[in-house]
């Protein structure tokens, strides 16, 4: 009987094998079929970038950046919107949006599922947090090499918005495999946001030193000792649970590669300054200035609720914090006022702000094998021309449709540029020279000045003395490493991150501070030293 069973099983396996096999070979040929016909006809006429494909070509598109702030104007949807219409009308490209989701793990999971079944759409976005996914794709030969296409087809405007020096660090072995959404690293700097209406109420002056900040936190807690606490924390994926300001106070900059006195790169996580910072964090937690639930795995939701409900008045965030989440506080309590401050340090040395050497907010990958790969560059040209060309246009108010565009190009440091010109216009009262994108913001701020609190946040960012202006006064420290993950990083980085997070969380929660030294030992032994060497090799090779 046993033998019969095995035979039967083997036969079935074999049947299945054939089925899977024939299926497996079917798939690619299916997708490559359309190559035959339109390819010949279109390559000849597509040399000039303005031309339309005729007959139209198809391109499928999965976009993972359609966040909550995208609002479709009437009649538009993920499948049929400003961008699908525009690329069809202008370029003859039928853009089929097969998947549109907010940025996050769920989208990553969907894309991975599409990768594993070799069923990726032609074009898809990847979040900047998933660079590993991109490198896997490049190694697997799935991502189209865009180097020459970009050279040949990109419009002068695009080349100006995406200068070589910005693209160069993103290349792998000198080749460009994706189109980045470039961002000026300075626009990612964190700052300290403090509730100034409470300062007024308690009659406390604005802080000058880190000690002042702590005193403010204590005063805020004292307003309602059982419910309040000092510093908002709680998004695990984000900058040490959004406590970076407390680290910077001690000149600690975790999760970065810093240049030491000898010009070598060292890892920020294992520096002695981190130990001092953790000790301080532990004390703050003991005093109740950091919420007990700071590590709750809810993406900061609970902490945000506390913020909204007026239980916490200090928030470490970026320039856009007023729009989210501080606007929610304002919505809930119209009295609420917030102001941004530079980081302050415990000693005489200035607290620095960490910035990356390059910075992206996501990227576009084209799957290898599309009949008209240059179509991607043409779409990018179109997007660039739409927003930044001679007749610049803006998305419908508040719609954020740019997130659905099949490409992304912006002026270097766009938001800072915007803020400067808006501030000037507000002061002079002359808005005629504003770019449409700026005009939208200008109108919102005017609206706020006329009493509409809905745009309170925008006004705090782009208005007079807006948060974006604060970046000018920052002193920066760079995260010097921006290469492809090194060999050892690929296998061991995840574990090292976990080691750090464990030490970080347990020390803040009250573990013996010397646990940090154990962590440093472990970190070095479990691959950290190898990675440091590789990173330094990379660093020297670039000079």
């Amino acid at each position: 009987m046993k033998k019969l069973t095995t035979n039967l099983l083997l036969t079935m396996m074999f049947m299945l094998l054939i089925a899977a096999c024939s299926n497996g070979t079917d798939k690619p040929s299916n997708t490559s079929k359309p190559q035959a016909t339109p390819n010949n006809s279109s390559t000849t006429e597509s040399s000039s970038s303005g031309d339309k494909y005729d007959p139209p070509i198809k391109m499928t598109f999965a976009v993972g950046r359609v966040d909550a702030d995208v609002v479709f104007p009437d009649g538009q949807s993920t499948k049929d919107n400003q961008w699908t219409r525009l690329v069809e009308e202008k370029l003859g490209i039928k853009l089929d949006v097969t998947l549109a989701m907010p940025k996050g793990q769920e989208f990553t999971q969907k894309v991975n599922a599409l990768i594993v079944t070799n069923d990726l759409p032609d074009l898809f976005t990847v979040s900047e947090e998933e660079m590993i996914q991109v490198d896997q794709l490049i190694q697997a030969g799935i991502a189209e090499d865009l180097t020459d296409l970009f050279e040949e087809y990109a419009s002068p405007l695009v080349k100006q918005l995406m200068p070589d020096e910005a693209l160069e660090p993103l290349k792998r072995n000198g080749r460009l495999y994706f189109l980045p959404n470039l961002q000026r690293p300075a626009e990612e700097g964190f700052m300290t946001w403090i509730r100034t209406d409470w300062l007024k109420k308690l009659n406390i002056p604005e802080p000058k030193t880190f000690q002042d900040v702590i005193a403010i936190a204590e005063a805020f807690k004292a307003m309602n000792p059982t419910k309040n606490y000092g510093f908002q924390a709680g998004t695990e994926s984000w900058d040490m649970y959004s406590l970076s300001g407390l680290f910077a106070a001690y000149h600690a900059y975790p999760n970065a590669w810093l240049k030491d006195a000898n010009g070598n790169l060292v890892n920020g996580n294992i520096q002695p300054e981190v130990k001092a910072a953790l000790q301080s964090l532990q004390n703050l937690k003991k005093e109740g200035l950091i919420s007990n639930e700071w590590t709750l795995g809810d993406d900061g939701e609970k902490a945000r609720q506390d913020l909204i409900n007026g239980r916490v008045g200090i928030h470490f965030g970026q320039w856009w914090a007023p729009e989210w989440p501080l606007q929610l506080v304002k919505d809930n309590d119209p009295e609420a006022e917030w102001k941004a401050f530079k980081f302050m340090s415990v000693d005489g040395q200035p607290a620095l702000h960490l910035q990356n050497t390059v910075s992206l907010t996501g990227l576009y990958v084209l799957k290898k094998g599309h009949s008209n790969p240059e179509a991607l560059i043409k779409m990018l040209n179109l997007v660039a021309d739409f927003y930044w060309g001679e007749n610049p246009q803006a998305d419908p108010d508040n719609s954020n449709l740019w997130k659905l565009a099949p490409g992304d190009a912006q002026p270097w440091g766009k938001n800072i540029v915007f803020m400067q010109s808006i501030e000037k216009a507000l002061k002079s009262g002359d808005a005629s020279k504003l770019h449409p994108g700026e005009q939208v913001l200008y109108n919102m701020i005017e609206d706020y000045n006329n009493g509409n609190d809905e745009f309170w946040g925008v006004s705090l960012e782009y208005g007079i003395d807006g948060s974006l202006g604060l970046y000018d006064s920052f002193q920066w420290i760079n995260n010097e490493f921006f290469g492809t993950p090194t060999v050892t990083m690929n296998t061991k980085q995840a574990n090292l991150n976990k080691l750090f997070e464990d030490a970080f969380i347990s020390i803040v929660n009250g573990a013996d501070i010397n646990k940090f030294d154990t962590f440093v030992e472990q970190w070095k032994k479990q691959g950290g030293d190898d990675i440091t060497k590789e990173v330094n090799d990379w660093y020297k090779s670039r000079k």
Partner: protein, 314 residues
């Protein structure tokens, strides 16, 4: 196996009527066709996919052109501290669930049996079945609500001077929250079998006990419990097969990165490294490891159940 022997004996007798017998069997084959096709595709088909655990699976190359790496993923797995940690979590959580999942239902069944008011007994039963029928999504939503730092459970504990506890955020507590909530979800349902076992205990024994002047306690201890013993042994043995099933949906719903250290179990780990981090082959290797261990444990448990309680699946 006993069945085979029987088969051989019958064969000699059946030879003469072989063809008519087959004709009579034809409808039976037909009935099995849909089930066989589905199982073949979805269960055995995915078993075939396991070969990716021995490859560096590259999706565009598929199963046939991906590079074979032998046991490399397994070697990597065994020396990975993460994996050892996950394995221990799985084992620890599953064992506790098995233990608590026996103890509480047995207790409830015995106590329910002592309830004389039939309507109240039925009411209790209906109510405590409820959590069993709700998904972990729903229960997760309820638990997040109840167990938050200012939630109703902490408010209640506060009445006794207990400091608020971070049930769903503290690694040292989290496994126990998993065990407690899982036991709670299943307690009602698991009493069913034990209650049935109690009713099967010969009532004359109780009557004899009562006449002998044995009180309730003694009756439970000397009559009810020993009467339930075979079924308790059976359930315990069969649950050995779940030694690496620590509750995927429950953990996935309730945990977060801060809880990986004590809360990450094999199934969630496979999900994370496979579908979130995209290390397909490695994830498949970890999954295969689990399947192999489970296969051994389930076989062992059925064997033991057969030897100890003369239990057979069919």
């Amino acid at each position: 196996m006993a069945v085979t022997k029987l088969n051989q004996q019958n064969n000699t007798r059946l030879k003469g009527i072989g063809s008519t017998q087959f004709r009579r069997e034809i409808p039976l084959y037909f009935m099995l066709v849909p089930g066989i096709i589905l199982v073949l595709i979805f269960s055995y088909g995915s078993m075939f996919g396991i070969i990716m655990a021995f490859q560096n699976f590259v999706p565009s190359s598929g199963f046939f052109d991906s590079k074979w790496v032998g046991l490399e993923h397994f070697k990597f797995m065994v020396q990975l501290p993460d994996f050892r940690n996950v394995l221990w979590n799985t084992f620890f959580i599953a064992m506790m669930k098995i233990a608590a999942g026996l103890l509480l239902p047995v207790t409830i069944a015995i106590l329910l049996n002592e309830v004389m008011k039939q309507w109240y007994k039925r009411f209790i039963q209906v109510v405590i079945y409820a959590p069993y029928f709700l998904s972990w999504v729903i229960l997760g939503g309820i638990l997040f609500q109840l167990l938050s730092i200012d939630g109703i459970v902490n408010q209640f504990l506060g009445l006794f001077g207990v400091e608020p506890i971070l049930f769903l955020g503290k690694p040292s507590i989290f496994p126990y929250v998993l065990v407690a909530s899982d036991t709670w979800k299943n307690m009602g349902f698991n009493t069913i079998v034990f209650l049935a076992a109690i009713t099967n205990v010969d009532p004359t024994l109780h009557e004899a006990g009562a006449i002998d002047g044995a009180n309730r306690w003694k009756q439970i201890w000397n009559i009810t419990l020993p009467g339930m013993f075979p079924i308790i042994i059976l359930v315990a043995t069969l649950s050995l097969g779940d030694i690496l099933n620590a509750g995927f949906e429950q953990v996935l719903m309730l945990y977060g990165p801060a809880l990986y250290k004590t809360g990450d179990i094999i199934d969630t780990y496979v999900y994370r490294i496979g579908l979130i981090n995209g290390q397909y082959s490695f994830a498949a290797a970890v999954g295969l490891f689990k399947s192999m261990v489970s296969l051994v444990m389930v076989s062992l448990s059925y064997y033991l159940a057969y030897r100890l309680a003369n239990y057979r699946i069919f």
